[in-house]
């Protein structure tokens, strides 16, 4: 049982780390603001989600598990809102030029 | 009087009358809260109601102290140190508490007539911060824990900074930022030291630390950092970049508090640190270094003061010199046992601190009345002011004389005690510096008075007449400073050889002539603005000789002024801080 949980943790956290890697590569390689933003938000939120998923089996109590999910939802909300605002600013910057 | 000498149990037990210590902190803080909530137009009422209370509490502590054995102690929350915090009042605290209360009273009486009710912003800020400064200072004088002292220091800084820029001009804002940033650097260094001390000994209580401390290198690092941080807050040359603009730019009542009291807070913590926490740590060279900086401060502060065109700047620079004077006691208190001893030198230093507090506050208040009446404070434009504001000019003269060391002033007593100690320790060079300090003080007092007492070139139309109560408050403060020598200090400060008794004899008169005549000479030689009587005839034969000497000395004083300007640049001042920390560290390490 414990082994199965650990396997799940390892798999999910590895996948999460991979998405963080993908996001960073995107940041380094993509040419303009909007595509970089895309790389960042998608990868990061998915990465964090997978890390949370991986840690759920390790959580000590049900309350801790809910907190973990809550954290992920909060960052998702922030990511969605802020990237929209940033993208809008970027677009306006371009039209101004 | 030293806590270390008292029985161990007494330090960790509330003594009778201990609640007075709590009240002396709580009452001003309550005043701050009340004034803040009642706000507009009531803050002055609250402050004026609190001031007599505070004065009574300080007086009660002063009365209560000699009756018990050793310090008055209060254990907060009934948690004895090291777990909890204790407040302790020994002779040093009592003396400082009383002086602070007197100065605050006089300044409050002055300011009650100064800030009109229409200026809500200035009045609100000033009165609340006045009470806050009082609470912070009392905490510093009574705090028995190094971290409590840190919080109190920050309280003091936060209360002092807005006072600097009350008038909101760009120049004073700049001064306030420099002051705040430099003071923060100082407190961070102090905090670094407390970290190391806690890591070494597991307590921050002053008495417990004093028993546990030894001379290991990590303790030396802590001592060096803390000392330097506090010096930065005290503005000892070369760490004085913030002081002149800050003290000269504030309104008169605020300047009096800043110059008279606020710098004494960090000075007092240095005294606590060196005499109570680690008397055996600094060693001979470090004490000489500290006093050496004091000597430099006396020369630089006085010479630059003589070159100022504005009265308030002159007084601010004279504060620099007087701060230097405070540090001369350290080598003179260094005993043969290799420890700093609570001796006549310490008593002299403390007396100098309180007589400077009263006299300098009176000087700034007098300057404030002059500024308000004339609408400017250029020294060359002071002619005729003696006729319009006789009381203020008299107060200025009296406080100047007190600072010079006129008997029976506190500074006279302080100088005698320090000279005694210098003779005892056979460190004649500090006796020279002490005398020079008096002469320099004489110089700028004579310079100001000479201008103030001449007739006006053109008739003056006063902008506004100063209310009489303002002038009387100033005069009372100056008289206080002049009467300090009559107080029976033996009950509070350890004076092994007794107080010099000859306060009114021929000898005392003669001692007074040196700073007065020497000061006149220095003023003639070093002040770019010539003394008024200089222009009259009768000096014609001497003229060529003196002129050439004067030209030379003026040139050298210009070099000193350039040096001051150099030292007051931000990077240079910060580098000086770190250099001093390194020097103190090396000299303390070398002592063991």
């Amino acid at each position: 049982m414990s082994l199965a949980r650990d396997m799940m943790t390892i798999a999910a956290v590895s996948a999460g780390a991979f998405f963080f890697l993908a996001g960073t590569v995107g940041l380094l390689r993509f040419p303009d603001t909007l595509t970089r933003l895309h790389a960042l938000t998608k990868a990061d939120n998915l990465g964090l989600g997978l890390v949370v998923l991986g840690l759920l089996p390790q959580a000590g109590s049900l309350r801790d598990g809910f907190k973990l999910i809550g954290i992920w939802l909060l960052t998702l909300l922030a990511g969605a809102t802020v990237s929209q605002l940033i993208a809008r600013t970027a677009r306006e910057g371009e039209t101004a030029k | 009087m030293l806590p270390a000498a008292a029985a161990p149990a007494l330090d960790a037990m509330t003594s009778t009358g201990g609640f007075l210590l709590v009240l002396s902190i709580v009452v001003p803080v309550t005043g701050v809260l009340l004034a803040f909530i009642l706000g507009d137009q009531y803050e002055r009422l609250v402050a004026c109601a609190i001031v007599p209370f505070g004065l009574a509490i300080a007086a009660a502590i002063v009365v209560a102290l000699p009756q018990g054995n050793g310090p008055v102690v209060y254990v907060l929350g009934a948690w004895p140190p090291p777990l909890g915090i204790a407040l302790r009042a020994d002779g040093l605290s009592a003396v400082m508490l009383a002086a602070t209360a007197v100065v605050i009273c006089a300044v409050a009486a002055f300011a009650a007539a100064d800030f009109s009710i229409t200026e809500t912003r200035v009045s609100f800020t000033f009165w609340i911060l006045l009470l806050a400064i009082w609470g912070a200072l009392n905490t510093i004088f009574l705090g028995g824990d190094l971290f409590t002292l840190y919080v109190a220091l920050e309280l003091l800084t936060f209360a002092a900074v807005p006072l600097v820029c009350l008038d909101g001009r760009g120049e004073t804002l700049r001064a306030a930022i420099r002051y705040l940033l430099f003071a923060l650097l100082g407190s961070v260094l102090y905090l670094l030291g407390t970290t190391l001390l806690y890591g070494l000994y597991g307590t921050l209580d002053i008495v417990l630390l004093g028993r546990r401390i030894d001379t290991q290198p990590a303790a030396v690092v802590a001592a060096a950092l803390m000392t330097t941080g506090l010096l930065a807050k005290t503005a000892l040359v070369p760490l004085h970049l913030w002081l002149p603009p800050a003290h000269a730019g504030a309104p008169a009542a605020a300047s009096a508090i800043l110059s008279g009291l606020v710098v004494k807070g960090s000075f007092f913590i240095i005294v606590r640190l060196w005499f109570n926490v680690m008397p055996g740590l600094p060693g001979f060279i470090a004490t000489q270094l500290l006093a050496g900086l004091g000597g430099v401060a006396i020369v630089l502060g006085s010479v630059v003061a003589l070159r100022q065109e504005r009265l308030k700047l002159l007084i601010a620079y004279s504060t620099l010199a007087q701060i230097g004077y405070l540090f001369l006691m350290f080598p003179l208190a260094f005993g043969a046992s290799g420890r700093l001893e609570s001796s006549g030198a310490l008593a002299g230093g403390l007396l100098q601190a309180i007589s400077h507090a009263t006299a300098k506050a009176a000087m700034f208040l007098a300057a404030g009345s002059i500024y308000a009446t004339l609408g400017q404070d250029r020294i060359l434009g002071l002619g005729g002011v003696g006729r319009i504001l006789p009381i203020s000019v008299l107060a200025f003269a009296l406080s100047g004389l007190a600072l010079m060391g006129l008997p029976p002033g506190g500074a006279y007593l302080a100088k005698e005690l320090l000279l005694q100690a210098a003779a005892e320790k056979e460190q004649w060079w500090w006796a020279v510096v002490l005398q020079a300090g008096g002469v320099f003080t004489g110089a700028y007092v004579v310079l100001v008075l000479a201008h103030a007492l001449t007739a006006a070139k053109e008739p003056i139309t006063p902008d506004s007449s100063a209310p009489r109560i303002r002038e009387l408050a100033t005069l009372a403060l100056a008289l206080c400073s002049l009467m300090l020598g009559l107080v029976p200090w033996e009950a509070y400060l350890s004076i092994p050889n007794g107080v010099p008794s000859d306060k009114f004899g021929i000898g005392a008169l003669f001692k007074m002539l040196l700073p007065l005549l020497g000061g006149t000479g220095v003023a003639i030689l070093l002040a770019p603005s010539k003394l008024p009587s200089w222009r009259r005839s009768g000096w014609n034969e001497l003229m060529p000789v003196i002129s050439s000497v004067r030209r030379g000395s003026l040139a050298s004083s210009a070099i000193v002024e350039a040096g001051d300007k150099f030292l007051r640049q931000w990077p240079i001042a910060c580098i000086s801080v770190l250099t001093l920390a390194a020097l103190f560290g090396v000299s303390m390490l070398g002592a063991h």
């Binding site: 922030a78 | 777990l83 609100f124 971290f147 309280l155 890591g199 597991g202 290198p217 770190l578």
Partner: protein, 313 residues
Amino acid sequence: MSIATVFEVVLATVVLGFGFWTTAVRKTYSAAVGFVAYGLLVALIWVRLDAVDVALTEAAISGGLGGVLLLGAAARLRDSETTAAEAPGNLTRACAAVLSVLIAAALAGAVWLLPEHAPTLAPRIVANAWATSLANPVTNVLMAFRAMDTMLEKVVLLLAIIGVWSLAPDTAWGGRPGPCHRADPNGVLAFLARLLPPVGIVVGIYVFWTGADHPGGAFQGGAILASMWLLAIMAGLADTPATSRRWLRCILIAGPGLFLAVGLGGLWFGSAFLAYPAAYAKPLILGIEVAMILTIAATLGLLLAGAPERSVK
């Protein structure tokens, strides 16, 4: 070298990397961003040092409110970057570098020389925790053993507010701090500002409440509440209150005022100033903390909002 040590070295290196970036980078705005990252990573170090109370504080201040304060100032002072031509020369820089390294080395040496068996007050604190019946040792130290420091620290916060207010132009004295924020009521920001604060308030109260027995406390909870308030202000859903309002001033002194009152009660009825009678210790401390969380939230919010700029009329 174990993997834990390797990780610690990596963490320390990354933190110092950001510290270095913050010091060296040319643009002030980038330096402020660098500092936010730095503060966040320092919070990681605090978790690693098993000081979660401090980690919470550090996350709230350096990562959150402090970062916002610095960024706001950097954005507003952007035009001034070119005018300040007082860069020190190479000699000054070299002196500064040498001395900074010297001080850092002395500190490192001092830490190295700290005694093998470190002195600690932890056992004493555990032994005396019965007096308050709170299980969080840090809260015990803050609210009971060193209550004087905590009370004075709240007065420091109040003085900071007075200092900031005193910078108002005379015409705006007593007015509302900061600019008027307007945003589309149906826009994304307003949406977020309606959705997040309820969650934030719950979390803030949770962090405060859990502080009695677990890491957390009034300050950390207050910081969260303050940020939610400011979010609503930024979205134009609320405005900063006029600083002359009596209720606002009541909130601003509620914390230190109640602290002081309870302390004096101890002096009058109990054993000492700031001593709690054992039977009522917990409710008294929690009561003070409730007042404090309000005071802290209001104080932090107003410190970020700045000096009054708009007259009430």
